[in-house]
Symmetry: C2
Subunit: 410 residues, 2 copies
Amino acid sequence: MHAEIIAVGSELLLGQIVNTNAQFMSKVLADMGINVFFHTVVGDNAARLKAAIEIAENRADMIIFSGGLGPTKDDLTKETIAAHLNRKLITDVRAMESIEAYFNRVGRTMSENNRKQALVIEGSEVLPNDHGMAPGMIIPVKNHIYMLFPGPPKEMEPMFLTYARPSIMNKLQVQEKIISRVLRFFGIGESQLETEIDDLIVGQTNPTIAPLAGDGEVTLRITAKHQSEGAAKELIDYTERLILNRVGEYFYGYDETSLMSELSKLLKEKQLTIAAAESLTGGMFEKELTSIPGAGSLLMGGVVCYHPKVKQNVLHVKEETIAQHGVVSAECAKELAENVASLMHADIGISFTGVAGPEELEGKPAGTVFIGIKIKDQPTKVEELKLGGNRTSIRIRTVQHGCNYLLKSI
Amino acid sequence: MHAEIIAVGSELLLGQIVNTNAQFMSKVLADMGINVFFHTVVGDNAARLKAAIEIAENRADMIIFSGGLGPTKDDLTKETIAAHLNRKLITDVRAMESIEAYFNRVGRTMSENNRKQALVIEGSEVLPNDHGMAPGMIIPVKNHIYMLFPGPPKEMEPMFLTYARPSIMNKLQVQEKIISRVLRFFGIGESQLETEIDDLIVGQTNPTIAPLAGDGEVTLRITAKHQSEGAAKELIDYTERLILNRVGEYFYGYDETSLMSELSKLLKEKQLTIAAAESLTGGMFEKELTSIPGAGSLLMGGVVCYHPKVKQNVLHVKEETIAQHGVVSAECAKELAENVASLMHADIGISFTGVAGPEELEGKPAGTVFIGIKIKDQPTKVEELKLGGNRTSIRIRTVQHGCNYLLKSI
């Protein structure tokens, strides 16, 4: 079974957006053992879309479309495919109801062009859209399976996982189980990690080990195939042990987690509350923590102390500390962590002060960062970092280091 | 002149990385007035790459490749193209020197496979790689121009801008100027906006008007062609006036801006300082504001008042306000905005309190949000929102509405 992904949208060809849909679908299909041999992007143009479909039919069994299901005149994916397959478009009653319900809920009048979104190709398996209006479709025709998804990732991704994946698995009657596990590492570079386990990567065929560098972290995906799920898991367990024997000190979690999710889990488990004083990160640590549902029981709150006066007046950093050491200093980080914990009545106080750049501050270059950590009655610790990169990556790395530092300290 | 971009790499088809190269190139080409009609992604496989080249030759004049120029066995882009064009690979002396110099500089021994990177297709214009080893190539053959670039974005992007773009401009002797302007709107849906200006979109060929829905906002790209740049601008100005006559109340800015950038500009212009009290947004407003360099002169700081006690103890919301109206209330938003402004000695106080979900709070459903705004001595205003979507999008929309509300209020 070979698949091709066709993303439809002139905004992709103009470079206004990046084709994350092809990446997402490819990843899910790879995990299902389906080979993707081509991605195509084509604009909102019926003739060129039709040409792309004909090419795909010659080189793939499964043709997956994203985009062009919306209400506007540009949106012509299903119209073009219907014409190509010589099928009618019919109104899907359930989709129409859910579109009407949406407009009722938000209290807006439905403009006429929204009705178009409830049209589906005759004979489709209709995939509900739980996060938007246009439904998806699966249409098996002779030797091909055509699948249509809306373009917005927040609609396509849950639809793909919830409705399309089980339906495909079912159609293909996948026998061999393919299981993956992702190990996540922080504080080690991709090339160093790869060097440490090079012989394992080269030597293995089942499981395979695939390294990938992400934003400040490195992951290893271990994938095993076996007719028995249990046996596949055992293969993965064994390889994981080999890997962690060598680089376990940098390991922090499995699969779709993050340093912040691990921190949130750990805080919940230990029933600890936290407060943050954020200068250069400007609220990013707390924003990330509160993006996880249920953060209310962990995070008391915090102070974004961007201006030196706020450090002094609200967080009571001593005037002489700032005069003697500056705000970019271990001393300032220490007082910020201690004082925010006591101000917010939290078990843990964490502080971030430093230079996000591009300009230097107090004679210190961009990337100079101090993180203070106060945990209950333990003596306050301060970590100094020298980070590279631009303003955005310095801020992201600072938050990641703060999480990692807490994970190792609690 | 029509272009097709072919990205080569199995890691793209496995979903391990996203094809940002196609986006980058498309944007630069669009600005140069070159139409991109297709993107293709193909794996590290000579036969499939050759097939993709043949398809592209039938539908594009300019075929641009990225990836597959590295030292390993997988890397076969230039080998495949050379064979297809019936040309030899020859060592480029300058590229070889720069590879040797690189290994000398980092003090590592050059492994033999690195010599492969200095090979170029005979008759190429060689593009130096200032950030890596593999050079790029431009090869005009009969009716086609073939262009090869390395895959890593940090090598490809500067090479494209520094060496390829001037060479293409020169080859094409671009006469007609193509100018675009993006208008950004907030508070109106894509389909409503399109309904309002439907006759303009359908009727226009020069300029063209292309709508695009982004994250909570809608943009219109107006593109005009003319031999005189001034005349192209006038065409755009005229169309812009037609559009803004109808939907001007939702317009907030031009081109690559954002609500937060516009707010930051406005605050700087009016020399106003700001402070924020963030409950459901958990620091997101301040994080976004401080992502813009120079925010230090605008943002005094703020309090992330996630826990009700922090609202009371740190931001002095009256106990009876919370007892009577709850924290998800206009009354609480009002006090938060007023008190954070006075605590931080800021000209403006803004507050965000509400239900991010997924659970309801105080009997109010997810998406119930109150934004308080206190500007100097003016009476405090509170806006109530009922937002749809999940936790993440509720938080993002809340911050956007806050920015928009400030933009209209200051």
